[in-house]
Symmetry: C2
Subunit: 264 residues, 2 copies
Amino acid sequence: MKLSFIGAGNLAWHLAMAFENAGNFICEVYSRDEKNARRLISMLYDARLNPDLNFAESESELFVLAIPDDAIEEVTAQLVLPENALVVHTSGSKSLESLRQLMDIYSDVPVRTGVFYPLQTFSKGINPLPFETIPLCIEASDKSTEKLLIALGQELSQIVYLVNSHERKVLHIAAVFACNFTNYLFGIAKDLTDSENLEFDLLKPLIEETVQKALDARHPAEVQTGPARRGDVTTLSLHRAYLSDKPELLHLYRMLSEGIQTRR
Amino acid sequence: MKLSFIGAGNLAWHLAMAFENAGNFICEVYSRDEKNARRLISMLYDARLNPDLNFAESESELFVLAIPDDAIEEVTAQLVLPENALVVHTSGSKSLESLRQLMDIYSDVPVRTGVFYPLQTFSKGINPLPFETIPLCIEASDKSTEKLLIALGQELSQIVYLVNSHERKVLHIAAVFACNFTNYLFGIAKDLTDSENLEFDLLKPLIEETVQKALDARHPAEVQTGPARRGDVTTLSLHRAYLSDKPELLHLYRMLSEGIQTRR
């Protein structure tokens, strides 16, 4: 399949190469940041730079919006597509309907719409991630587009799911708790060890083992450990006393400990 | 070295075997739960069951308290040790001084005290963990005991640190944030996906990648992602609206998002 990328950030970087590795062909890349676009093009087979958002003459069938959520409206307002093109966004939060409506407003020709959401975090420069094990969440405006996106997804990954916009939103919220907030807690732990000139590295084996146990369990709650889980009031109050001059951390410690104790 | 275990729970299970694998010899095991003690003994070279806490005739030099924090006082009150024995606890929270004081009160003979704290989470039955990579935190009442515990630790692990009681407490608090609370967040993510009949497994590759990035970064804050980090107010309010009928989760979502935004 021939396709074009709008956006050349972290996601586009990995996704475009995965598409080409699976035998597809990237015709054009557009990015607000031309340097980013050129860098991505240098990694691709024979893609060319599209200097603006006019793709009227493109041979591509699929146009991938790999841009921040809040840039989607601005971009679609300027986007010119060939008739009957398929345009997909790659966002965890945006509904298919919102893209549908934008295209209805802004496109002069009829287009098909869909969602192609890889449930993973991407950093440029880091080695290409093995796409086979990355879950792809697919949604489309009609059955034949759905079939096409599923087939395309299956070229890249073993884990392709039809996920509607509501389900995708809930997956994204769950991911915020399991990943974004978790990363924030790791940062707090790093701050605490730094503040006493202790090595954060000392905690790494424990973190790795904890995560592995949680992912292997039927439910993470079954492998919950720690003073709150044990109802160890002596340790809980010792910890609260230490945090008493850090009100935000103290509040967080209380809330999360109470959550664990309520769950017991 | 000859040693005895007081306690036959998850930690004792792994630690006793690690000691014997390093060429030491476990003489006796005591546990309130005799079945646990017998099960551990069956895994050891030639240990015998001690039916009570009288170790006056023991040949052991080292006595390892592998028991819950809140059992330490009750156990030390009944513990009878040979003169000049070395008794260590394995707790993240208890100070060395508190053990020292208990032994001063309850022991009829002079004993040495120390701490031998493996910074890891242990489950019985699961394959023995590779102790070489588990950080051991050592503290002792005198220099010669310290040297002895360090040497013993180095037989088990490549990562042996002298950590005083205050530092150990802070490490433990950091571990509560990085591990216990993190596990709780994984549980919330699992509840959210369950509530919509979505597969929690879909999140696992993302969780694994997020954790690996956080541990590889100079500071986890440097690899923070998500709507709060981006200042994506549309997505944040979409998520809060979804959580509006779950007040505890909503409160947690707000607090953690604000923490991330403040940090930016």
